[in-house]
């Protein structure tokens, strides 16, 4: 494999499985942070209105400010910490499909969540997360200081793709000299066809037209090759190619 510039990172689990994780960059994380910030502000405003109007009297006002300060303190230091430790993400991050994991792709622990969120104080220095941003730019996995200390990554969690429904009525053997990757590409093409217009299908298939006899429809040929690669010549029981 060549070393491409990519946000995909491979993590090997103890079982030998290779997990592909896509780390999230500063922009989407910034937007998630804005959503979380809005949620926190709204909570404080609601608390302010509800408690403020229900107490009303000037005497209680002082006590109310005390409660308000406690709420603000908790939201400031423990909002992200609690959400991440319990669910692995915050509401803002979830809105963008982001997830926090340890750098071996295991779920984040309370201790990890605490470190990465307490160190926000330093990452947000001197303003607008400048320290964190600079740190992320020098790290190939977009880790800010808090992430480095906690050993965490913010990653995308993709929704599972719907299973392929590709079936073709005929299967014909493709040329034998096709490599594994080429065969895989042909199958991928066939499986993607349900999402492609007929024009786009033939446009893509025409890339391989030099492999296909002139009187054949490229799309049809590729699909029948894919059918053969996936299922063999008869529809089920063939166990060898």
């Amino acid at each position: 494999m060549d070393k491409a510039v990519d946000t995909l990172h491979t993590v090997e689990t103890p079982e030998g499985a290779l997990l592909q994780i896509a780390v999230a960059g500063p922009v989407v994380r910034g937007m998630a942070w804005l959503v979380d910030g809005t949620i926190r502000t709204v909570i404080l405003i609601i608390l302010g209105t509800v408690v403020g109007s229900s107490t009303g009297g000037a005497d209680d006002g002082v006590a109310f400010i005390g409660i308000f300060m406690i709420a603000q303190f908790l939201l400031n230091w423990f909002y992200s910490t609690t959400f991440e430790a319990m669910t692995g993400t915050t509401p803002g991050k979830k809105a963008f499909g982001l997830w926090v994991v340890h750098d071996n792709a295991t779920p984040i622990t309370l201790s990890g969540a605490l470190v990465r969120n307490f160190l926000r104080v330093v990452d947000s220095l001197p303003f607008f997360y400048m320290v964190g941003l600079i740190c992320m730019m020098f790290d190939n996995r977009f880790r800010r200081l808090g992430d480095l200390a906690a050993g965490t990554l913010v990653i995308y969690r993709d929704k599972a793709a719907p299973p392929s429904t590709f079936v073709h009525d005929v299967g014909t053997p493709p040329p034998e000299w096709l490599s594994r990757d080429q065969r895989q590409s042909i199958v991928d093409f066939a499986e993607r066809c349900s999402n492609l217009s007929a024009d786009r299908q033939s446009e893509l298939a025409s890339v391989l037209s030099h492999l296909i006899e002139d009187n054949q429809d490229p799309v049809h040929t590729l699909k029948s090759w894919a059918q053969w690669i996936l299922r063999g010549q008869s529809d089920a029981q063939s166990t060898s190619i």
Partner: protein
């Protein structure tokens, strides 16, 4: 070699079984007790890892390999999820885990305490010696505000008739302010100790100057009577937060035979119980400060309570958890 369809047919039931187990685990609410009815999961997961590797090496379609990869990620997530018994952990923490972890850092704790108490004493003596020094350390406006607050001629420290409301207000203020300071002292240690050192010295200068000045002008009964009760948990917790911060900074300054990143990660992990303990101590201090410190009991009793607090807390930190097995 199997073609893909036969391969899929062979393992489809396993995958579906795994998927339904995962669905169940993922929808389970976190506060429910962990059940052990999914003993098949590790076995299915291990087999799945192998099947995924096979599918990759045989070049099966991406629709299949992606599906298996997705299942692996989900199963991995469930298998390696941290399932700790919170109560158990808390018992161990208060029963000595906190103190034992802190004693492991006794060198840094000494440094942090010196960084705080040396400026406190020096500035206290200087501020008591001359009001000019007091102004130098905290500014004349703040000196004036402090004098107003602790002047015995002004009666109670809290406004009359509003004690309970004011107590709650002050409780909130102390929590937000003092625990916030603890956490900042901790976090800023990652700047090669600079932040922690700064906050410790800065707070030491301030507190020392206030104490020295107020004693010198004759407000010692109101001042020492007020601060005695909560001084032990609050000041010790500040030094402990400093210790946790210095742990982060020292990991970067002197990582030893490991990379700085690894040293930082390890130090951060060890520092978590320490900063949590400091935060809880400050919460305790805030409670005393809000509900005990401002009362009108005799000066002697308040001082005795304060001294007893110092002795108890130091004894707890020095003695608890001695019998805990050393964890490597």
């Amino acid at each position: 070699m199997l073609n893909q369809q036969v391969f899929e047919q062979q393992y489809e039931t396993d995958w579906q079984q795994l998927e339904s187990a995962l669905n169940k685990l993922e929808t389970k609410r976190i506060w429910h007790k962990a059940t052990s009815d999914n003993s098949d999961l590790p076995k299915l997961y291990a087999a799945l890892c192998q099947q995924h590797a096979l599918a990759l090496s045989r070049g099966y379609s991406h629709a299949l390999t992606n599906r298996l990869h997705d299942l692996i990620v989900r199963a991995h997530h469930q298998l390696y999820k941290h399932r700790a018994h919170v109560l158990d952990k808390m018992m161990r923490f208060f029963g000595g885990g906190f103190a034992a972890g802190l004693r492991e850092q006794h060198k840094l704790l000494t440094v942090a305490s010196l960084l705080f108490f040396v400026p406190t004493i020096i500035c206290g003596v200087l501020a008591a010696y001359s009001v000019d020094f007091a102004d130098l350390f905290m500014g004349s406006r703040q000196r004036f505000a402090l004098e107003q607050m602790y002047d015995p001629a002004n009666g109670s420290i809290r406004p009359e008739g509003l004690e309970s409301q004011t107590n709650l207000y002050m409780f909130g203020f102390y929590i937000a302010n003092n625990i916030g300071i603890d956490f900042r002292v901790f976090a800023s240690g990652i700047m090669y100790c600079v932040g922690s050192v700064f906050f410790l010295v800065f707070n030491g200068i301030h507190i020392g100057a206030a104490a020295g000045h107020l004693t010198a002008v004759g407000f010692h009964e109101t001042f020492w009577g007020f601060v005695a009760g909560h001084s032990a948990p609050e000041l010790i917790a500040l030094c402990i937060s400093g210790t946790a911060g210095l742990m982060l900074g020292m990991a970067l300054i002197k990582p030893g035979r490991q990379t700085r990143r690894l040293a930082l990660m390890r130090a951060a992990k060890k520092s978590v119980p320490i900063i949590i303990g400091a935060g809880l101590m400050t919460l305790f201090a805030a409670f005393i400060e809000a509900y005990w410190s401002a009362n009108n009991r005799p000066f002697e009793i308040k001082i005795i309570v304060g001294v007893v607090m110092w002795i108890l807390i130091i004894a707890y930190l020095a003695l608890s958890g001695r019998r805990l097995k050393h964890r490597g």
